[in-house]
């Protein structure tokens, strides 16, 4: 007698949990790498938009507009199949997600830098600090705190969008799920993709909670939350 279909489908998922966890690992690594790249490019870009001038500022602004105006799917396909920036799907996906995230992170930081009132910068200059020094010691620490909520949002978006790397065959979480299903070994489509969804949910939930903690931890006593 064949086992009940429901049982067998969940059993299939459980049996392949190790593969799904490997995919989850790739998703987490891709998220981390992309967010990091996005920060390394996006923070200076935001600062250039606020404090820069001339061609550099215009170039940064234009790059941002272009990146924000292009679908991520297009960016990743263009980089991988069109420009072949790297033979590694992981590297290509990191660049695509990182660039796109930089374009959004730059706006988070731009707004945060602009929200610190001018008077504090002036007071720092008045004690004899150079402009760069004053920005670094007075404006940036406050702007970083104020970026946390926007950053939290960006983090979850990147995390979920790593699934787009499926189109270049990177073995991240969704790809693993898809392979399990298409391998033809199972009819467990619903069970597999529900499990995949649940894992994404747990990841975003944990990320959000961690950043809530960061927000609280770095908030300024008596004042606004971070």
């Amino acid at each position: 007698m064949p086992p009940l279909p429901l049982q067998s489908d969940w059993a299939f998922v459980v049996g392949n949990l190790d593969l799904l966890l490997v995919g989850t690992g790739v998703t987490v690594a891709l998220t981390a790498a992309s967010i990091l790249l996005g920060f390394l490019l996006g923070f200076p870009a935001g600062a250039v938009e606020v404090y820069g001038r001339g061609p550099l500022k215009r170039a940064v602004e234009t790059a941002g507009v272009v990146l924000r105006g292009t679908p991520l799917l297009v960016i990743i396909i263009l980089l991988f199949f069109g420009l072949s920036v790297s033979s590694s799907a992981f590297v290509t996906a990191t660049i695509a997600l990182g660039l796109r995230s930089a374009a959004y992170q730059s706006q988070i930081f731009r707004g945060a830098l602009q929200s610190v009132d001018e008077g504090q910068l002036e007071a720092a200059r008045a004690v004899g600090m150079g402009r760069l020094q004053a920005i670094r010691s007075v404006v940036v620490p406050q702007a970083l705190r104020r970026s946390v909520p926007g950053f939290q949002n960006e983090f979850t978006i990147v995390l979920k969008d790593t699934s787009i790397a499926i189109v270049i065959g990177l073995g991240e979480l969704l790809t693993v799920g898809q392979n399990l299903y298409q391998g033809g070994q199972s009819t467990a489509a619903l069970e597999i993709f529900l499990t995949v969804s649940l894992i994404y949910f747990v990841l975003t939930f944990v990320t959000n909670r961690s950043l809530d903690y960061v927000d609280d931890h770095f908030s300024i006593p008596g004042g606004e939350r971070a």
Binding site: Q120, A123, V127, M129, P141, I220, P221
Partner: protein
């Protein structure tokens, strides 16, 4: 004969078409406390900001200890180490404690190590009566306390001259006294101060000279007794009587 501590020599400043300072000249000796009064928009803040070059002048010159500080090749950061400023809106660094506000300049500008900077910071907080609030953040302080931290922050750099731009006008009336008291102490200690303020009690008791600025020009400049009791220019008298009526209700 030694140079005056501060000298403004025929200073002009305009914003576009608008002439804000039109040939301002005066001198201060070390230990002087000069109080600048004048109507809103007369150029008082602009004049102060020209002294530490938060604003650049268009004509004339400013000298500190006989040295011209408005040359193009003057190091503005060097100048600002010698000239402290206290702002109307305090402008405290919101992410730092009172002690952090006072020590930031010592550490970043003077390059003093943390422990030594803190030691000096505590001294200056004590000077303004806020030793017990050293670990409080600006948002946890009252307006009067914030301004006293602002004063301590300026004092910490050991400036030759302190500029005050309406230090009490953002304060609730009951908090003005504590700030004026600190300023009086500083005046008594011989610290040179150029103060924009309409706090008449302070002006009468602590000022060496009163400077009445109107429409970008110094209309009258003299010791408080003379300027308040026996103003020479009609405009001074008018302004003072208006000031009295507006301040009566407070």
């Amino acid at each position: 004969m030694s140079d005056p501590l501060l000298e403004l020599d025929d200073v002009y400043k305009s914003y576009g078409e608008e002439q804000v300072l039109s040939g301002v000249s005066f001198e201060m000796d070390a230990g002087d406390v000069d109080v600048v009064i004048g109507p809103s928009g007369s150029g008082k803040s602009t004049m102060l900001r020209c002294v530490n070059r938060l604003t650049e002048i268009n004509g004339g010159a400013i000298y500190l200890n006989g040295e011209c500080v408005t040359d193009a090749d003057t190091d503005v950061n060097e100048l600002r180490k010698q000239v402290g400023m206290v702002f109307q809106d305090f402008n405290l660094f919101a992410h730092l404690t009172a002690l952090g506000n006072v020590t930031l300049g010592l550490r970043k500008v003077r390059g003093i190590d943390k422990a030594a900077a803190q030691e000096q910071g505590y001294e200056h907080l004590e000077q303004v009566g806020l030793l017990d609030q050293a670990d409080s953040y600006p948002a946890e302080l009252s307006g009067g306390q914030k301004q006293r931290v602002g004063i301590a922050r300026a004092l910490a750099m050991d400036p030759k001259l302190l500029l005050f731009d309406e230090p009490t006008s953002a304060l609730d009336p009951e908090l003005v006294g504590e700030v004026v008291e600190v300023m009086r102490d500083l005046a008594a200690e011989g610290i040179t101060m150029l103060v924009v303020s309409h706090e008449m009690g302070f002006a009468r008791s602590a000022a060496s000279d009163i400077i009445f600025l109107d429409d970008g020009e110094i209309v009258e400049h003299g010791p408080p007794e003379q300027l308040f009791e026996n103003p020479q220019a009609a405009r001074t008298g008018e302004f003072l009587s208006r000031l009295e009526t507006t301040h009566e209700g407070e």
